[in-house]
Symmetry: C2
Subunit: 270 residues, 2 copies
DNA sequence: CAAATAGTGTCTCTAAGACAATATCAC
DNA sequence: GTGATATTGTCTTAGAGACACTATTTG
């Protein structure tokens, strides 16, 4: 037996206490609202998947989907697995937004969680899970800044409305962190995670990194613009958007049909 | 006893296997090389702290400073504690660059690590630790891109030279990940961590976020420009740099002295 | 034709990059 | 004065934002 292998077999990690490690995922998609006017394009809203907790702690509160890390997978694979288990869909993208490790963040014990943002393409979703299961629901998202460092997170589904208030903390590498002022009906530190996720998403949408993931393979430039406007909560002049995005897309020879107005050319991601 | 508290006392986390969790830190500072010409300004190089491993695994290889997470601290506090233990200095900044969780990344067992970049201000360092302890050394850093997705990481200290080769993988949120082609004399997956850290640092230096942390409270604009040029491995025209950075700094009424040429005004971070 | 969206052209203003010119100190 | 750096000015060009205008479809 070599010096190294004998060392390894004798090595014990039992001296240190170990935390449970989970992945929590902010699963996002777009919800399209058909308008009453047949000529008008449909509206898009940002939508977030939450799960109602059946047991303690935080019984009857809403929580992010997530689960424990297994020894044979990376934290990214764990997050992917959890999204697929929960939605039975393959997300278009998955991005880490950091490790949440406050010792007291979970009353059940020492549980730290790496949070992710995951985006589902709008082509696949529609009639899928999270609509029938009573305990999983898609909430419309509104996230707006006060005059100060105060942010209001508003999640609504039919007559259920979750309101949380947060304060902007430090900002490293463009990753903004938040502290919870009022968690509303959200479990654990999940309001904090959602706020950080949405901020990161907005930053990422600035340079067209993530906006394609919300759409099917082929899309109109107006649809793409709507995604950016919805995510960033801004409004853009279409002429300027088209110029800026031109380098990131390529034309197809297909057009939209039967829209009640001029057809639009379909584009693909370059 | 309430329903909730009785539930909590009965709750057990023992069903899941748990990993050991560590923080590894890419500790950086600037090293100033005085030039032979008394008129010339000193040169600056980026410098990285590594520790020579005394035992298996990776005996005699070089590794990042780091240590195990304790139950009463966050991962950021853990990283801060480890830097201070290793350098006996308080870092100017600390930024997470992600969780490294490959199941086989550590031969000793299931150990996952959150990596950080930490910057030490150049005023405090100089004659400090890492110079006398034989097992801790500051290495000059060079990190350059090939024609392809290939990057060469070069760490040198006197006659010791560590060379690693990496391949650029995916890029989420502007966070670029790497895979190791050749790890050189670097332990574990630390070449991967260093590459990701340096890439993140370059991105952050673009918009003047991190460059101040390398300098003392008061500095000249030329010094500040040197920091950005050193980190990003580029060269900038000073006139343009001054215009761009003007909004991030404010003047003092002090000047440099005895430099062998025109004195420079000292500035502070705004 | 009316309503609605799709798509183009152009003006202004700002910021980035390149380069030239001037200022000031130690010796 | 010389050598080195510090600091300012200005020209050109690229891009962002605002706005006006044209094009195309369905009912």
């Amino acid at each position: 037996m070599s010096e190294e292998s004998s060392f390894l077999s004798a090595y014990k990690l039992s001296d240190y206490e170990r935390p449970s490690v989970t992945a929590d995922i902010v699963v996002l998609r777009l919800r399209t609202e058909d308008s009453e006017n047949y000529r008008q394009n449909s509206n898009t809203k940002l939508s977030l998947l939450l799960i109602k907790r059946g047991g303690h702690p935080f019984k009857d509160c809403w929580a992010l989907p997530g689960g424990f890390l297994n020894p044979d997978e990376t934290i990214e694979q764990c997050a992917l697995r959890e999204v697929e288990e929960e939605t039975s869909l393959k997300p278009a993208s998955l991005m880490s937004i950091g490790l949440f490790s406050e010792p007291k963040r979970d009353p059940r014990g020492w549980i730290i969680s790496n949070a992710f943002v995951s985006v589902l393409g709008s082509d696949k979703v529609e009639q899928q899970s999270g609509d029938d299961a009573k305990d999983a629901q898609w909430f419309d998202v509104s996230f707006e800044q006060d005059n100060e460092d105060i942010f209001h997170l508003n999640l609504s589904y039919r007559d259920t409305e979750l309101k949380a208030t947060l304060k902007e903390e430090n900002s490293d590498f463009g990753m903004t962190s938040f502290s919870i002022i009022d968690s509303g009906e959200l479990a654990f530190d999940h309001a904090k995670i959602i706020a950080k996720a949405l901020t990161a998403l907005r930053n990422s949408a600035k340079d067209f990194e993530v906006i394609f993931d919300f759409l099917p393979e082929k899309f109109t430039l107006t649809e793409l613009q709507n995604v950016q406007e919805t995510i960033m909560n801004i409004s853009i002049l279409s002429a300027n958007f088209r110029r800026k995005v031109a380098g990131y897309v390529e034309e197809t020879d297909e057009y939209t049909q039967g829209a009640g107005h001029r057809p639009a050319k379909l584009y693909k991601k370059r």
